[in-house]
Symmetry: C4
Subunit: 211 residues, 4 copies
């Protein structure tokens, strides 16, 4: 499951680059043209950061899993389905961000997709906890910690989607803020890094065979 998921996320994040348009050859003031393409770069940045957040959460989950079951594999496929759509939604956003009306549609589609990815990641984790697929020696604190971690993005995305109906541009900035916030090393928000690393690292590399 991990190899396929990592592959899909690696490809999806790299395909984002295809949405960055290379300006037509005849224009000589390339710098001005590139600066004019800022929505494309912003979209690339937000989408890459979001896939980064999903990947971090996903690899934390797979590290904690002892086994998988049929349902978990399907939930995982559904998450990857939405991740695969991100390059398309990013392209839509970059294309229409400066056009009234269309901008609102693009930003809403994009936000809904980010929300769905975020919800699916959370569902994946909660299912794994409930179906008892985790390593038996994980203590409840660690489970609670990761539960808290995969949750806050959801509320943020809902807020931003609503905001985006009125101010689409602000919503895109909001999506970036959410991703950057979730990317901040976990330890900065929860506990001193020393303790966090000591706690998590041995588990992180632990493989079922070691238990």
């Amino acid at each position: 499951m991990e190899a396929f998921s990592d592959g899909v996320m690696a490809v999806a994040s790299t395909l984002l680059v295809l949405d960055l348009a290379i300006p037509a050859t005849q224009h000589t003031d390339l710098l001005a043209r590139l600066i004019g393409e800022w929505p494309g770069y912003l979209g690339f940045l937000v989408s890459f950061a979001t896939i980064g957040v999903i990947w971090l959460g996903h690899s934390a989950i797979t590290d904690y899993l002892e086994r998988v079951d049929a349902t978990l594999l399907r939930l995982n496929l559904l998450l990857l389905f939405f991740v695969c759509l991100l390059p398309f939604a990013t392209g839509l956003l970059a294309e229409f961000i400066d056009q009234e009306g269309a901008e609102r549609v693009a930003s809403t589609v994009y936000g809904l997709l980010l929300l769905l990815c975020s919800v699916l990641l959370s569902v994946l984790w909660r299912y794994a906890v409930r179906a008892k697929l985790l390593h038996p020696d994980l203590d409840d604190d660690e489970v609670t910690l990761l539960t808290r971690r995969v949750t806050p993005g959801i509320g943020g995305y809902v807020l931003m989607i609503i905001l985006g109906l009125f101010f689409p541009g602000a919503a895109v900035i909001g999506y970036l803020v959410i991703a950057v916030f979730l990317l901040l090393p976990f330890s900065l928000r929860r506990r001193p890094p020393e303790e966090h690393d000591k706690r998590r690292s041995p588990r992180r590399r632990s493989r079922p065979s070691e238990h």
Copy 2:
């Protein structure tokens, strides 16, 4: 074999997104335009679900293998060859689904490709069973179970290809139904999930080194 196969399937499923056309900039009613592109989304959904089914079957097979031989590696390459063609056939379908005549050709080409993927996956499994490449401690029940699982899609695809000669649109819906049906957690169709998980999960993670 697994890394390469997972890679090809991950890339193929992500490349599908390139078939989703971003509407031209001048149109302002983006929502209507996006809704008008529904064949593209339908194709993306069917192809992604089908690759998901193939991946699930493929990773079940590789889990059960104890060793590979030269023929199995070639059969696997042939399966991947058809998987690689899926983004092309999906693009064809999305482009022509609303055009009489062309629609029938596109839907038949697409169905034949799904059929070939399905047949190859089944051949791969049957060859592995016959050439005694499986773990020696697999019981016959488990072998029979997986054999039954990789088979039913084939009949469905043949039916849908024939149906598609007369009603191409209905066939595409049929391909989606087959994929969704095959994606439903196995346990729902065979046995209570409790028992199924207990049975399959320990095997699923079992690696040759543990035997």
Copy 3:
């Protein structure tokens, strides 16, 4: 080294599909149009089969390696460099195969690339043998066998490139014949399959940790 190489080859083989042009929408006789695109499918087939051959040879080599050194890693990068160019050369071939003059250039560029891939794979293996990077318990027979296997393509490609200067179309068929010949299960050409499988399979899955 293996994960990165497998990744590059998986992506390269899947990117080939982007060379398959989807006919423009206005043509209704889609079947005739698709048949008219046969050079594209032929190119896809030859390139996919060739990457398949390279992947089979490459994974046989990495299975036999006990360790890597700095030079081997660089030779491997060079091989991947040429593999990455294959989708481009394939596109060139598909585009120009029916145009006199251009056809000869495209077929020669394509053949030279196949030759370079083939030579690099052979150099990689020979270097690994000479630098004593293989498992110490490999017997000479097995080494000779693989040496013989990664060699014959080279002569074939040289012949076909020369032939292609006069009959470019025939050369492309020749490239396909070479790839298919190299893809035929090894055992068919060397020894009875029974014996071959018994001989190779235990080694194939052997990992340094098992030695």
Copy 4:
């Protein structure tokens, strides 16, 4: 971390091929046209070689790591972010290399990206050293050796970016020289290959589980 990083780098290096334009069909003097496209090939070569250098450094670092922490994972994502942008910057370079003015912008953007990748790789390594994430039995010599290795490129890129403001073409050649220099087997520049291989290879394959 390794699978995802390898995946991103494999895809990024393969996507470079999409920047190689296939000449329009109507031109019959294909050879002349292909030769006229040399900036594209040069860009492909430089970018592929640079990703190769980054990959070599990255896989040396991950080999030396005993564990990862939250900060290292984020630094790694940042490195991959810049790697993902390489196909875009390469396309820019290929498109504008023969146009005064635009050429300078493209070459500077490209150089800055190479510099950022190089700096990030160095930061990743230095962070790993300082945060004591390496295998405890690594001796200081080995650490110093790799530190020296991931550093020199940085100065070279700064020089070339400045040079590129006046002679953009020369800078591109400079980027190639840096990449080729960094690709030269390490041993040629540091110590006799014999000794180097003996020293590094056993470590290179060492896995945490073996310690």
